[in-house]
Amino acid sequence: MLSIKNLTVEVDGKEILKNLSLEVGSGEVHAIMGPNGSGKSTLANVLAGRDGYEVTGGSITYLGKDLTELKIEDRAGEGLFLAFQYPVEIPGVSNIAMLKAAVNSLQKYRGEEELSAGEFLKLIKEKAAMVEMKQAFLQRSVNEGFSGGEKKRNEILQMAMLEPTLAVLDETDSGLDIDALKVVASGVNALRSPERSMIIVTHYQRLLDYIQPDFVHVLAEGNIVKTGDRTLALELEERGYSWIEQQVAKG
């Protein structure tokens, strides 16, 4: 589904990802862990196509297409979703208006008919309940004045509405207390399906207590240095990232 081969990415002329390779199959959940500055968020941003992240080597193939050739919105159209580490505020634009425009943009991209107001309302009601979001929330400006937990829940609501094929969650657990973390995790778990793959970028293994990944990769200095199953995350938790760095240094 997603095949990253020997990917090298520069930001401001500095190499952040170096020769990184990763294969993600349908329905798989991959966790990317690593210390600060290892390139985790760069990977998330480069997949979504953010400006300023220059692919200088390697390839990203997604559903048989060269992902780097696609515009940001077309990647979304192809089913790629990024849950932001820092969701952005859009003053004066209600959550519901933004979601309606987004849902219908994707419908249009896929050559499908736009949802009627009734269909849309029914859908959003159902999905909002899933992340325990009140109706009044939908009328508020996108992320404006939201608490950290509300912002992250809002990201998961958007993900639920847009039904992506590949969801990339960038540090979705950061800034969440334990209750909010549970709500977010149960939202994500509800969205797991054999047709939906996920890449979960996180610094701590805490999130992985609630969302159990199929694979855990450890990123250090721009490359995946270790891959394992869930137990790797637990081992990391216990021994810390310095353990990995020492192993890499030993080479």
Binding site: K71, I90, A102, S141
Partner: protein, 487 residues
């Protein structure tokens, strides 16, 4: 150049859609200004003697006035002798009795602009169902719809030239009573040469049964448009009025110097909305309308309310400060403005709220958007006079910048002579951030839709003040005016 930059570039070069010229036979006075020209305008309009005298008095005052230069705008000096002061489509004698007598090319012009001049169509119609329209083409009004229906309610809605014939006493009483002849340079010029405009009179206790609107179009080359609008709402009356404006694309600058006067008596309310889309000139700043306008309302009675809402997207230069003088106790003044400058456009706009009566209140919400090399200035004055006990003002001025070659400037003046007054002022300047664009595009919106969504969100507090039908228009207009503004 990246792919997306190229696309944006193509959009920047999108043409002004209302820029066509109507090929119609016109009766245009040769360029130049002197007392004979003024006599000729007055003669053609068959005006009563007092009107001619008033015009001449204004002209003589104007000759002694200096051109103002305090606004934050740059332009080459206007040669007032190069402008033609009267242009009218050739018409059967006294103007059209029915639509059949209106030149079909004129009807076509307004149809192209989406302005319904056919009452049947409006009645049967889909869009803008409850609106009466006065259409002003160059210097004359070509058609006013629904006059009979309005007359049943006692409302007078007609070209001001006709009001001069049919209701001279009202004109004599109110014309120049809010904006005196020599108020300022352009208002004074307007007083001397004004050609047409709308006249509205709402009698005591009447709520005007429909939205009134005037549609202004400059067509002829080298002409100025000097319209004059006068709206009077008697005790307890209510009216909502909207004006819209467009002009053909021409390389020369054209002058539009209008005066609008509003009078609201005790408990009356006037809601005045403007969607201004005069030709803005090209990307190099060639051509475009100089929009030098004086708009002022007077709340003459207690609890009167005047509300200005403007969406200014056109014109090479906009210079206007719709104001409210709050004489009556508990009277209310409001100003909601969106001003957008793109390419080389310049806007210096804002308001004046003069508090005289007790417990008067005013609200100012100004949203300036600058793109390209546009310059956008908010200039506002809040004045609380000695007797205005308990006066309140709330001002909010927000600027949105797109790109790094445009400018936003804010000049709020405040003068308070009464200790019991309460004033609040909030201001902000922001940029459309890459983060916002990336966020919305990641959700599937095109770059254009993302910009449009962000800008419309920014303008929301103003758009919601517009009558429903026009709010949608205004939003579309913003989209069109901003296309390609990011990059």
């Amino acid at each position: 150049m990246s792919e997306s930059t190229q696309e944006l570039d193509a959009l920047v070069h999108r043409e002004y859609q209302e820029g066509f010229v109507t090929d119609i036979e016109s009766d245009t006075l040769p360029p130049g200004l002197n007392e004979d020209v003024i006599r000729e305008i007055s003669r053609r309009k068959n005006e009563p003697e007092f009107m001619l005298e008033w015009r001449l008095e204004a002209y003589r005052k104007w000759l002694d006035m200096p051109e103002p230069n305090w606004a934050h705008i740059n332009y080459s000096k206007i040669n007032f002798q190069d402008i033609s002061y009267f242009s009218a489509p050739k018409n059967p004698d006294d103007g059209p009795e029915s639509l059949d007598e209106v030149d079909p090319r004129l009807l076509e012009t307004y149809a192209k602009l989406g302005i319904p001049l056919d009452e049947q169509k409006v009645l049967a119609g889909v869009k803008g169902a409850n609106i009466a329209v006065d259409a002003v083409f160059d210097s004359v009004s070509v058609r006013t719809t629904f006059r009979e229906k309005l007359a049943e309610a006692g409302v007078i809605f007609c070209p001001i030239s006709e009001a001069l014939q049919d209701h001279p006493e009202l004109i004599k009483k109110y014309l120049g009573s809010v904006v005196p002849q020599a108020d300022n340079y352009y208002a004074c010029l307007n007083s001397a040469v004004f050609s047409d405009g709308s006249f509205v009179y709402i009698p005591k206790g009447v709520r005007c049964p429909m939205e009134l609107s005037t549609y202004f179009r400059i067509n002829e080359m080298n002409t100025g448009q000097f319209e004059r609008t006068l709206i009077i709402a008697e005790e307890g009356a209510y009216v909502s009025y909207l004006e819209g404006c467009t002009a053909p694309m021409r390389d020369e600058n054209q002058l539009h110097a209008a005066v609008v006067e509003l009078v609201a008596m005790e408990g009356a309310e006037i809601k005045y909305s403007t969607v201004q889309n005069w030709y803005p000139g090209d990307e190099y700043g060639r051509g475009g309308i100089y929009n030098f306008v004086t708009k002022r309302g007077a709340c003459r009675g207690d609890r009167a309310k005047i509300s200005w809402t403007q969406v200014e997207t056109g014109s090479a230069i906009t210079w206007k400060y719709p104001s409210v003088i709050l004489y009556g106790d508990d009277s209310v003044g409001e100003f909601y403005s969106v001003a957008l400058t793109h390419n080389m456009q310049q806007a210096d706009t804002g308001t004046k709220m003069i508090h005289i009566g007790k417990n008067t209140s005013s609200t100012i919400i100004s949203k300036g958007i600058s793109a390209g090399r546009g310059q956008n200035t908010y200039r506002g004055q809040v004045k609380i006079l000695r007797g205005a006990d308990g006066a309140r003002n709330y001002s909010q001025c927000d600027s949105l910048l797109m790109g790094d070659q445009c400018g936003a400037h804010t000049f709020p003046y405040v003068e308070v002579q009464n200790k019991t007054a309460t004033l609040e002022h909030e201001a902000s300047t922001s940029k459309i951030s890459e983060d916002q664009l990336f966020y919305l595009r990641q959700r599937g919106l095109s770059e254009e839709s993302a910009v449009s969504m962000i800008v419309n969100g920014f303008c929301k507090a103003v758009f919601r003040e517009l009558p429903m039908e026009f709010a949608v228009e205004a939003q579309k207009l913003m989209d069109v005016s901003l296309e390609g503004a990011v990059g």
